[in-house]
Amino acid sequence: MSLILILEQVLNGLQFGVMLFLMAAGLTLVFGVMGLINLAHGALYMVGAFAAAAVAGWTGSFVLALMASLAAAAAAGALVEVTVIRRLYDRDHLDQVLATFALILIFSEGTRWLFGSFPLFLDVPSYLSGPVTLPGGIQYPLYRLAIIVIGLVVGAGLFWLIARTRIGVQIRAGEADREMIAALGVDISKLYTLVFALGAALAGLAGALVGAIQSVQVGMGEPVLILAFVVIVIGGIGSIKGALVGALLVGLTDTLGGVFLPQLFALMMEPASAASFGASLASMLIYILMAAVLLVRPSGLFGGSA
Amino acid sequence: MTDPVLRVENLSKSFGALKASNDISLDLRPGEIHALIGPNGAGKSTLIKQISGSLKPDTGRIEALGRDITALDTVARARLGLGRTFQISSLAMEFSVLQNVVLGALGARGKAYGLFRNVMKDKALLTTAQEALKRVGLQEAAQQRTSDLSHGQRRQLEVAVALTLKPRLFLMDEPMAGLGASGSKDLTAFLDSLRHEAPILLVEHDMDAVFALADRISVLVYGEVIATGSADEIRNNPEVRRAYLGEEDLA
């Protein structure tokens, strides 16, 4: 196994991790500020992807498609927040789980009704396709590199938002003491809707970006959602920093593990069983990582009190 | 036997830069009611939590009933005989009054793994439970849902549950809180009679109750015990008056 192959896989892991971060950031923000666990986050990812695919199909512009995904996901998020989510803030977690699970059903079947069961396709725009040569002679798809860059830029923007703007201060205060900021005169409902829509937009963007590499179909958000949960459990619920670290950890572990574990086992056993055993173990690797982190730090790496 | 039932030695606990408990030492003697008073933020809750087992002190030692309990958790301390009532009632709200007390009796018995027998028909548990209810005067309300009880009744229920454990000492966090004048009087009289069964370490703001009940008073200010003594000694202590100036009329 060559250095080039390893580097390529590391980049893939980074790309995966950055996408997971976009998902996880929204989830962890919503939980940190509003105390709400939102299972329907994957549906918002899906909405973003479908919106992007639809708009790209009509206009042919990838940039417009991305903007559409942000807008559609944010709008869907805001709508859902105003109609359903805001009734759930005071409820116990079971109610939140059930209500958001119900939302998943509605969104999934609704999308299937609107768009049919066949996957849509979103094409990588021509100016982003093809490989690019990186230092060291590695050929890597330009689009994937673009995803990493976009994700990191968005991440930086998010950090700046939280750390430097007034909204960010409100968000951080809200995470620390929900009752307090209401008493201070901040308009809580607007803040909550904004945070929820922001999280939704991030998810939608992730969906659109990934939609060009994989297909756009109903249910695409669910595996990602669960991974996002693993990420925020590892990183600590409520912590954006934790979401980033956790996402990169998970992305790298999953990608590198999936590629290299079977090869590792091939050194020890015959190829057929090595492949299947390695694949099985690789698919479980992230969860084992999560369990390990929790054993040592029950609140996650950067988590405060949940 | 004048060995203290509870002894706290040099207890210290910090939360970051805030020293919530600063080298606290006090003790609780058999048959006495020892009140812990102090202005808000003095660290009384933190101290109680360390004694009950929910918080671990940074340094110091706690000894109860002759044993070092510093390393024991809440459950172990309860089993040892540490009875406790809470400032904010900690009861199973969906249960009936009787069920809550039976829970206490179950805890006293130690094991709750029976899967088949109907626990509410267990004669031994019921007897203990009903005795406890009678002592606090709640036997009429046995079938009522706990969430329907008044504030004062919930307080009584908490004491009843604590009694089923046959505690050797009591930790009470603001039992008078939220009670009206007659409720306070009743509870004061009850606690007075209770002291001979088990000494009580009492955190309270209600000065009437404190001066009526307490054999000794310790004053906690900014995490430190600034004085311990009889009611008169405390009333006349200049440091205490300074700490409370403007907050309570001690005279």
Binding site: H93, L98, A99, F101, L103, L105 | L106, V119, L165
Partner: protein, 315 residues
């Protein structure tokens, strides 16, 4: 209350399709009863319970497939060629799910609240992906068992007799669940759900109580899984997906969390909806979602709660 179970029996003499449907309801209700012990009594929101459902199913699948192919499962310490005897299969299913619940519970119960929900979800998914990659037993395509397993004295291929078997099991389990709810253990567990602090200060340890509840709960759901696999004569990773976990939770919620017959009512309603609405529209799950949403927002306590009103817990 028992009247709710009578309609199941009323279909006895009718078309085999209805009997199979009733059997499905019975088995799913059983899974729900299992979950209800952890969820309703213990307040543990386990979003990965399908893992136990699937473990039970795969226990059956593995034992039966080895038996029907005459391949030994293992030859040491003694030759074991699998089995197609139901009682043995059930025993293995129960033991396997209980063991899994012990491990998963021991790890997950160290956390609480949202963390617990997510961890149980994650563990469920972990096992789901594991079964997908386990090509020896069909992987993603699942495993078909040609012949239904045998039970001494019963012709299990006859729908009504199979139904009778599952029905008896459900009744026994309901009886067991009722006894547990009324027992000392049930009281302490329910109290831990309402106030953990209270339980600790009377000297009982919530962790142990919850772990035992989780194990019992997993074992029952595992038994349901084995029966389900027998009904369908098919085992697949879908049995372990979080959608399945969610569905089991829906049965419990529809009927009323913590109510003894809740899962029975819930499973019946769900299957009914699936068939009635499913006939009308392919997208019936939208209605299910709306119904569920409506229930969570407006009608807590499920259907039984709506009919009977609030009860004192534990009576």
């Amino acid at each position: 209350m028992a009247l709710l179970l009578v309609p199941l029996m009323a279909w006895k003499m009718d078309e085999p399709f209805l009997i199979t449907l009733a059997t499905k309801v019975t088995i799913l209700a059983l899974a729900g009863v299992g979950l209800n012990i952890a969820l309703g009594l213990g307040g543990l929101v386990s979003l990965g319970h399908a893992a136990f459902f699937g473990i039970g199913g795969y226990a059956m699948g593995i034992l039966a497939s080895h038996a029907q192919n005459y391949e030994p499962l293992f030859s040491w310490p003694f030759l074991f060629e699998g089995s197609n005897q139901m009682p043995l299969i059930w025993l293995v299913a129960v033991l396997a799910s209980a063991a899994a619940a012990l491990v998963i519970g021991a790890l997950s119960l160290r956390t609480s609240g949202v963390y617990f929900i997510m961890i149980t979800l994650a563990f469920g998914q972990m096992l789901y992906y594991f079964t997908i990659s386990w090509s020896a037993y069909g992987g993603e395509d699942g495993l078909s068992i040609w012949v239904r397993n045998e039970m001494p004295g019963v012709n299990t291929l006859d729908p009504i007799q199979f139904f009778a078997v599952t029905f008896v099991i459900l009744c026994l389990t309901l009886w067991f669940a009722a006894r547990v709810a009324q027992s000392a253990f049930g009281l302490a567990l329910s109290a831990a759900r309402q106030s953990e602090e209270r339980v600790e200060t009377v000297g009982l340890a919530p962790f142990k109580l919850r772990l035992i509840a989780f194990v019992i709960s997993g074992a029952i759901t595992g038994l349901a899984g084995a029966l389900f696999a027998d009904l369908m004569r098919f085992v697949s990773p879908t049995m372990l997906s979080w959608h399945t976990s969610g569905e089991i939770m829906i049965f419990v919620i529809l009927g009323g969390v913590g109510r003894l017959y809740g899962p029975v009512v819930g499973a019946a309603v769900y299957i009914l909806l699936e068939h009635l609405l499913g006939g009308i529209s392919e997208y019936w799950q939208i209605f299910l979602g709306l119904l569920l949403l409506g229930m969570v927002l407006f009608a807590r306590g499920g259907l039984i709660g709506a009919l009977l009103g609030r009860e004192v817990a534990h009576d």
